[in-house]
């Protein structure tokens, strides 16, 4: 098992290299790599947890268990879907090579438990993501990519300072070293991870980046890349119980913030991006079961981004006057149902599981966020549709990708089949009902447009310092009590 794990971590980088050397094989290699990861992730569910300590206590430490298994499975499925989507779109070998490298670096982030390996994995994923965003080479895509790289790199510099403070206290970079580290170490490290993961106010770089990149790239970014920043937070919360309340607080905060923006958004892709912010909150709000939620969200969000890419317009107002093909509408509705927590799709199981693991003070806020989810996805569900003769002019790989993702959602249902009790089913239905009612009564006609001031570049960087103060204060008061 040890050898397999190490070979599997190194493989994507090698495969990416080979793919750029032999451009004819690029797609097959990329798809093969995604399948290998999926196989490995399934292996993790039967094998006992694995801890590897390479070199020494200051070397690379890996911990591979079921939680990583969920994240890796998400990664594998989303990557496979994106590659299928691009299958005949004439993308060059460079694109596929970057996709595999992104896949590999995110995988590496999902297994390591020391700060420096995590830093390397996150930065490699940042560069690969930048190259994917800037792939069309247009002015806008380069600016969006630059902005992303800037924000993430500045955050990672803060993170590095935090990492060395942990080393100073313990002579090791392991996650467990956070326990005796000074409060500023925790604050700096968490700032880096929060920005990288797109959580709370520091995650406001996310909407523009995810909405302005190409369809397959935004599916990849929203589906998995942000989770590379969230996973370490979940892992820290599970290893150290004193960090747990902080992570939960940020979970609730980001769930509410994201959904608040999503409800008032008039643009499909931006709405989905804001919704990613909110869903990350659900993952963080109950760290113990975050893995399953991440799997569901990754599948559903990349499916939604792929579908939003083939809709005739990005504006909800225009879409309401322009019927879409019924087949696309059905896929859209299935994905939306899953994310609003409707039974029979795995979003339901994930929501129930998360609700069960909430602390009392979180319950109300998370229910509000769930209602907000239903409201924002009512915009998709109630779009007009009609049967279209002939092709719906979608790209050739579209259906295979969407069927893979939605099939994954249905199959993932079995992971938590105990959820199907009467009480559990009634509650999400009530929430969805309230949400739809609110949509028809209030939000359908709302013209409120939220200002985008906070999304400006300078503000994004400036907010980091404010978040640093907030985090420092939180950590400090906690250690005093």
């Amino acid at each position: 098992m040890n050898t397999i794990s190490i070979a599997w971590i190194a493989l994507p980088f090698f495969v990416g290299f080979v793919a750029s050397l032999i451009p004819k094989l690029d797609r097959y290699l990329a798809l093969g790599m995604a399948c290998a990861s999926a196989g490995y992730a399934l292996l993790l569910f039967i094998e006992p947890p694995l801890t590897l300590n390479l070199l020494d206590n200051f070397g690379v430490t890996l911990a591979i268990d079921q939680l990583s298994g969920y994240f890796i499975l998400t990664n594998a499925l989303v990557t496979a879907a994106v590659i299928l989507y691009c299958w005949r779109s004439g993308k060059t070998a460079f694109f596929y090579a970057q996709t595999i490298i992104l896949h590999g670096s995110v995988n590496a982030a999902f297994v390591c438990v020391d700060f420096i390996s995590l830093y390397v994995a996150l930065e490699v994923s940042g560069i690969a993501a930048f190259l994917l965003i800037a792939y069309p080479r247009s002015d806008r895509s380069i600016w969006v990519g630059l902005r992303y790289l800037f924000v993430s790199n500045v955050a990672m510099l803060f993170y590095l300072v935090g990492a060395v403070l942990v080393y100073k206290a313990h002579h090791s970079f392991a996650f467990a070293g956070l326990r005796g580290a000074p409060p500023e170490a925790l604050a700096l490290i968490f700032l880096g991870l929060l920005v990288k993961g797109g959580v709370f106010v520091s995650g406001l770089w996310l909407p523009l980046t995810h909405s302005e990149s190409e369809t397959p790239v935004s599916a990849m970014l929203s589906g998995i890349v942000v989770k590379a920043g969230v996973y370490p937070l979940v892992r820290c919360a599970l290893t150290l119980e004193e960090v747990d309340p902080i992570v939960r607080f940020f979970g609730v905060g980001t769930a509410l913030l994201g959904v608040f923006y999503a409800v008032f958004e008039k643009d499909t892709k931006r709405m989905l991006a804001f919704h990613t912010v909110s869903q990350l909150g659900f993952i963080l709000a109950a760290p113990g079961v975050g893995g399953f939620y991440a799997l569901t969200h990754g599948l559903v969000k990349s499916a939604l981004f792929l579908i939003a890419g083939v809709l005739p317009s990005r504006n909800f107002k225009e879409l309401q006057h322009q019927p879409i093909a019924t087949s696309i509408w059905i896929a859209l509705v299935m994905a939306s149902f899953s994310i609003s927590g409707f039974p029979m799709l795995s979003g339901f199981g994930a929501k129930v599981l998360t609700t069960k693991n909430l602390l009392p003070w979180q319950t109300i806020a998370m229910n509000v966020a769930a209602v907000g989810t239903a409201i924002s996805f009512a915009k998709f569900i109630f779009l007009p549709h009609q049967k279209r003769e002939g092709g719906e002019n979608v790209s050739p790989g579209f259906w295979s990708a969407v069927i893979l993702l939605i099939g994954g959602l249905i199959v993932a249902n079995v992971a938590y089949y105990e959820a199907y009790t009467l009480e559990n089913i009634a509650k999400p239905l009530a929430i969805v009902g309230i949400g739809w009612l609110a949509y028809f009564l209030v939000f359908r006609r709302s013209v409120l447009k939220l200002p985008r001031m906070l999304e400006q570049f300078e503000h994004l960087i400036g907010v980091m310092s404010l978040m640093l103060i907030l985090l420092f204060w939180m950590v400090w008061t906690r250690s005093v009590i």
């Binding site: 390397v120 560069i127 002015d139 380069i142 510099l157 060395v164 002579h171 302005e212 960087i461």
Partner: protein, 111 residues
């Protein structure tokens, strides 16, 4: 004292990123910030001593800690490559935006 200087460098870089208008200057400020972070690692490494940990005849001298230095090497490489990539991006942008003022670019490129 040394630590304070290093932290001041980090802060200078950070404020440079916020207050400088030109995109190239922002990237340079980011470099200043990362230089600060790298020197912080070196400062931490030399807490116990400043001698290079290489096997030699002299015994019992205060060696510096090799781990932070080894680790920061990776960060230097990553920071350098990110900067290279960013500057290429800026070069491409500069063909269409002669001023390279980030607020102008932002205005014309946000929907």
């Amino acid at each position: 004292m040394l630590e304070a200087c290093v932290l001041a460098t980090i802060l200078c870089g950070f404020f440079g990123i916020i207050f400088k208008k030109n995109l190239v200057m922002k990237i340079v400020s980011m470099d200043v910030m990362s230089t600060g972070v790298i020197s912080y690692y070196v400062v931490i490494a030399s807490r116990d001593g400043v001698f290079v940990p290489i096997i030699s005849d002299t015994k019992n001298i205060a060696y510096s800690d090799p781990v932070p230095q080894a680790v920061i090497l990776t960060a230097i490489v990553i920071g350098f490559s990110i900067q290279a990539v960013m500057l290429v991006g800026v070069m491409k942008l500069s063909r269409d935006n002669p001023t390279l003022e980030s607020s102008e670019i932002e205005k014309s490129n946000t929907p």
